[in-house]
């Protein structure tokens, strides 16, 4: 296949996703006019297949914050939230969301967002989510459903945990969804949605695992955040998502067959010099500048924990139409932020081995405790286990004030040169 053809194919999944995202925003904007009910929920523990069963639109505040961050709108929203009394140290997704609401709730695409009819909270390890929805409930005075997902304190999911979550789904979440939407729950509809989820998940995992090749045809962090888009948000369980991942897989398969590296904003990445595993979310306000610091140096991220926040699929879990509620429970229990520190360490250390990475890089987020707590210990332990060097940089999610390009670039370059030096590469000097 020629390069020109590849470029066309490459664009098609991106265009498809763009359409899907703007389609969902349209669905939200027209919800009231068309009598559609709206649920607001979070990426980790997102029960999209279930929400779809009630013909409701899904509005994800985190995604709004990310989209606004990439459009450079969050700085003003965060200032607005701080003006209203939210401290400098509060999660900046929360403040970007509250600031957006305070300024008229105009969505990232410039259109009015609807007030939610239901706040559906799956509590998967992030305590801030609960406080966030308390604030939203105070704002919207709408129905709230809280699904309590037990933390994987012992690093495993037990039958009791699953039945505890299933019971809440049956007794708390589904009745509320029925009541708010006026639609009766149909488990066969859920099974169909889950069947589609599993198909999309299969292709998604194939794409993630393509990074095991050398060179990796994808960047599993900077590219990865685009690849997780549909499956982590309002599309898992939809035909659109199945189609998107089918297209994406075909495109990546082509890149793989052609021995191409990942696509970057500056074109195809040339030589792959460093393979990294990255822990922690990216910075969104300077996303492209941040990415450039990697691809300019030939650094590709081959696996990341952030692409697991909305579900870990590459360890075998699939949504299961034969056990619909159980599989939703298992999905929520398995999200990355619901894993304890030893579990996270195991996963990242395995990634370093499986993906033949040069080391672990942690992007520690100033305002995100659910990720940041324990990261230095994780770094130390993973270094010890794998013998690969780690590095630690700090930035923030969507607060532009906490991205210091000179500092981050300095640390990254030092890290890359250190890896090179340890390999005995061109940086090695014979000391006197």
């Amino acid at each position: 296949m020629s390069a020109v053809q590849t470029a066309v194919v490459k664009d098609s999944s991106m265009l498809k996703q763009k359409e899907m995202i703007s389609g969902n925003y349209r669905k939200l904007e027209t919800a009231k006019a068309e009598g559609r009910k709206v649920a607001a929920t979070f990426v980790p523990g997102n029960l999209n297949e279930l929400i779809m069963c009630f013909d409701m639109a899904n509005n994800l505040p985190e995604i709004n914050a990310i989209q606004n961050g990439m459009r450079k709108k969050t700085g003003a929203y965060i200032m607005e939230a701080e003006k209203r009394g939210h401290s400098e140290d509060v999660c900046t997704y929360v403040k970007a969301d509250l600031g957006m609401i305070a300024k008229g709730n105009i969505g990232p695409d410039g259109q009015q967002l609807p007030n939610p009819d239901l706040l559906l909270l799956s509590y998967t390890g992030c305590f801030t989510f609960m406080k966030w929805f308390e604030l939203l409930r105070d704002q919207y005075h709408c129905e709230t459903a809280m699904l309590h997902v037990p933390y994987q304190g012992d690093g495993r999911i037990t039958k009791n945990m699953i039945s505890y979550v299933v019971r809440q789904l049956r007794e708390e979440v589904i009745p509320k969804l029925e009541r708010v939407s006026g639609v009766k729950f149909d488990i066969d509809r859920l099974r169909e949605n889950l069947r589609r989820s599993a198909r999309a998940e299969e292709d998604f995992v194939w794409v993630l695992e393509s990074a095991k090749s050398r060179p990796s045809p994808i960047d599993a962090y900077f590219g990865g955040v685009y690849y997780i888009g549909p499956i982590f948000t309002a599309f898992r369980g939809s035909e659109d998502a199945v189609e998107y991942y089918r297209m994406l897989r075909a495109e990546i398969a082509d890149r793989l067959a052609n021995g191409q590296g990942p696509v970057t904003p500056s074109g195809d990445m040339k030589a792959e010099r460093f393979r990294l595993v990255v822990e922690g979310p990216p910075n969104w306000t300077s996303f492209r500048d941040f990415w450039k610091m990697f691809y300019d140096e030939g650094a590709v991220v081959v696996a990341s924990s952030y692409t697991k926040v909305g579900g870990i699929y590459d360890r075998g879990f699939r949504h299961d139409p034969d056990h619909p509620l159980e599989s939703l429970a298992e999905y929520c229990l398995g999200c990355y932020t619901n894993h304890n520190l030893p579990g996270r360490i195991d996963l990242l250390a395995q990634y370093i081995e499986e993906y033949q990475a040069d080391g672990l890089l942690i992007n520690s987020i100033k305002s995100c405790n659910s990720f940041s707590a324990g990261q230095l210990l994780m770094l130390r332990e993973i270094e010890r286990r794998t013998g690969c060097p780690g590095a630690f940089i700090e930035s923030d999610l969507v607060d532009p004030r906490y991205f210091s390009p000179a500092n981050i670039k300095n640390r990254l370059e030092s890290y890359f040169q250190m890896i090179d030096q340890r390999r005995g590469g061109p940086s090695v000097a014979h000391a006197a």
Partner: protein, 437 residues
């Protein structure tokens, strides 16, 4: 001969080191970084090459049989002659630039009297120049800006009054001119200038006239040896601005690790406290970096913090350490935020604490922060090497020794008098290596 140069563009100072083929240090140079890294780089390199020339002269003149004590005097006199020549050159440049700046509408009608005043000031400055470079003369600074500035201010006020001109106006002209002059790197060939200094040596130091005559030929022969800048490697914060190919730019982490290893081959942990960075680096037995940690987003507790405190107290940076050493107790300071440093200081003074005790507390706070960064990087391993500008501060070193013993037991702690050049030394070693390929 082939030389290998490392340049460390720090936030406060820029350092350069010149090595020979055998990795022996030929010369070191340092200058203030200014806002212009390009000039700083050229000046530091020029200074290092000058020092290298003197090392080479010493080597060859020792072979020529000059006695050690008098040779030292001779080279010292030669260097003073060189520096005097360079100072006069820069004064000439500064005078001309001042005249250029004193043109335009603002000065209309007064051009003549301003020019006369400027000539008068610079005549006094030139007359006083030899005393600045006389034997055993004590200069508060070696930077042209400081030397020329303090003299200009001393002479300018009187001259302005005598000429019926505003002193502020003259000072304003000077301020504009000095920025330009300071950012013009030194021109001319070092060897040529040294030859000129040699010619005037007998006048500056009549007691060395006989030696100067005896050494003239060997000096000329030694200066005939061309030094070639075989390879230059840059490091430090300003490294991206260096006009070098990418492969000749190295991170300061690698350079400090390697530089510390070259100074003390048994080094395993390096702490560098510079102007804006605190770095803890773990190296293996060949100086290869195994791990590192740096201060996070803010520069709290770095060298700049001490600079800020010194400014607040109207003291020189180098005076802080000795003052802290006089402390009888250490006041507990928790915040190492540079911006809040002034407030912390005034608060403690208002509470009646003694200055030396507060300053001792500030030093301790800096080192406590450094200890936290060290532990992030994997702790202290034997031997431990402390580098960077803060390593020159005896009070900081005292706290560090104390805290290391308390937390890590008996560990060899190395502090080299030339530790400020550690990064540049590592960079020069990379330059040597690059040339070998």
């Amino acid at each position: 001969m082939r030389t290998f140069i490392g340049i460390d563009l720090g936030s406060t100072t820029t350092k350069a080191v010149v090595l020979d083929e055998n990795m022996d240090v030929l010369g070191r140079g340092i200058t203030n970084s200014r806002a212009n890294y390009d000039t700083a780089c050229k000046v530091a390199k020029y200074e290092a090459l000058l020092a290298a020339r003197f090392t080479l002269l010493q080597r060859s003149l020792t072979k020529a049989g000059a006695g050690e004590a008098r040779l030292g005097d001779f080279l010292d006199s030669l260097e003073r002659g060189f520096r005097l020549g360079q100072f006069i050159e820069q004064l000439d440049d500064l005078e001309q630039t001042c005249l250029d700046k004193a043109r335009g509408d603002r000065f209309r009608g007064r051009e003549q009297s301003i020019a006369e005043a400027i000539h008068a000031i610079f005549a006094v400055l030139r007359d006083g120049a030899p005393s600045l470079f006389a034997r055993d003369a004590r200069r508060k600074s070696d930077f042209f800006r400081d030397l020329a500035g303090s003299r200009f201010m001393a002479v300018g006020q009187e001259t302005a009054r005598a000429a019926g001109l505003s002193y502020d106006m003259l000072l304003n002209v000077y301020d504009k001119a000095i920025i330009e002059v300071e950012n013009r790197p030194p021109r001319g060939d070092i060897a040529d200038k040294l030859l000129r200094a040699l010619d005037t040596l007998a006048v500056m130091s009549p007691e060395l006239a006989d030696l100067a005559a005896y050494l003239a030929a060997p000096v000329r022969r030694a200066l005939d040896v061309e030094t070639e800048e075989t390879s230059v490697v840059g490091t430090g914060y300003g490294r991206v601005t260096l006009p070098f190919p990418k492969e000749n730019i190295r991170s300061e982490i690698l350079c400090h690790g390697l530089g510390a290893h070259m100074m003390y081959p048994r080094t395993r942990t390096v702490l560098d406290i510079g102007g804006q960075d605190t770095k803890a680096i773990q190296v293996d037995d060949s100086g290869i970096v195994e791990n590192f940690q740096m201060n996070d987003r803010c520069a709290a507790g770095c060298g700049r913090y001490l600079g800020y405190i010194a400014d607040e107290m109207n003291m020189g940076l180098h005076e802080l350490g000795p003052l802290a050493m006089q402390a009888t107790r250490s006041v507990r300071i928790n915040s190492t935020c540079t911006v809040f440093a002034g407030a912390e200081l005034r608060d403690r003074l208002a509470l009646g604490e003694k200055r030396e005790d507060i300053i001792a507390g500030l030093h301790r706070a800096i080192i406590l922060r450094a200890m936290s960064i060290i532990s992030r990087s994997g702790g202290v391993r034997d031997e431990f090497t402390f580098t960077g500008g803060v390593a020159k501060n005896e009070a900081a070193v005292k706290e560090l020794r104390h805290l290391i013993r308390e937390n890590y037991g008996d560990v060899a702690i190395n502090i080299n008098p030339d530790s400020i050049y550690t990064g540049a030394l590592g960079a020069a070693a990379f330059a040597r290596r690059a040339a070998a390929h």
